[in-house]
């Protein structure tokens, strides 16, 4: 005569399917939200703070000044003013790249213009771009 085994001896069976479902859902959520947060990039100019004698140390530095002229932002390279980044880009193309470029940014312009000048210099092939906060 066979008897059924008592409940204490039986191994409880856990259904893992719902837990795995929930875990995969969470995993997918975090993968997608983390990916959205990583859409940032970076510009890494060198930083040089203007001091009294710093400008004399550099032999003929190539400088782009970002400043406000009335209501418009202009990029000044030497004596030439460039109202757009496209014209600045064409002017930077012909300059020697090995000497690097200083980007001097004045108060009154927005950060977007400063970043545009640095990005344009990088795109033109300048390896060494130095940010100089203008006083």
């Amino acid at each position: 005569m066979r008897f059924r085994r008592s409940g204490r001896d039986r191994k409880p069976e856990l259904n893992l399917a719902s837990m795995i479902d929930a875990t995969f859902l969470l995993l997918a959520f975090f993968i997608f939200t983390t990916g959205a947060g990583l859409n940032e990039s970076k510009l890494s100019p060198n930083l040089r703070v203007q001091r009294g004698t710093d400008a004399k140390d550099d032999l003929e530095p190539q400088v782009v000044e970002v400043l406000r002229d009335g209501t418009a932002t202009i990029f000044r390279l030497g004596s030439a003013d460039h109202p757009t980044r496209e014209s600045l880009a064409s002017a930077l193309e012909v300059l020697p790249k090995e000497r690097g470029l200083f980007v001097r940014v004045y108060a009154g312009v927005d950060v977007a213009a400063a970043a545009a000048a640095i990005q344009t210099a990088r795109n033109a092939g300048f390896e060494a771009v130095t940010y100089v906060p203008a006083k």
Partner: protein, 140 residues
């Protein structure tokens, strides 16, 4: 006489789910932790829309300074003034092991006046920090 079933297609194959669940949980914990850290250091800003640099070293910033459109400075979700920022810079430098080891990330709103950015960068430069990174946003 009984024969064993020889129909292998009808037999269920037992798959050991344990390693898969282990890996999934590891991934889940990783994404949970990184997502929280990203939330903590990044304020909600309209960054300059530039493509950034191709060859960018992926070093940890050590110090992330957020500058809002009105010029407010936010670090770790707290609004601070320039005096507190000086202290934070010094603490971060001491923790990193000197000015050369620290590469602060500056996240400035694209509509913010560059005068405010200059003010903060001047303070960083005065403390001997020559390498900074300006955060940009890739246009979608």
């Amino acid at each position: 006489m009984q024969f064993r079933k020889d129909n292998s297609a009808s037999r269920s194959v037992a798959i050991d789910m344990t390693p898969m669940i282990d890996i999934v949980f590891q991934l889940l914990i990783f994404f949970l932790v990184t997502a929280q850290m990203a939330e903590r250091t990044r304020a909600d800003l309209d960054l300059p829309q530039e493509s950034g640099e191709e060859a960018m070293e992926n070093a940890l910033a050590g110090l992330t300074i957020n500058i809002e459109a009105d010029g407010s400075i936010v670090v770790d979700e707290k609004r601070i003034d320039l005096v507190a920022l000086d202290q934070l810079i010094e603490d971060a430098m001491a923790q990193a092991g000197g000015p050369d080891a620290l590469k602060p990330l500056v996240r400035a709103d694209r509509n913010c006046d560059a005068g405010r950015l200059n003010e903060i960068l001047s303070r960083l430069g005065a403390k001997g920090l020559g390498a900074i990174r300006l955060a940009t946003e890739r246009s979608r």
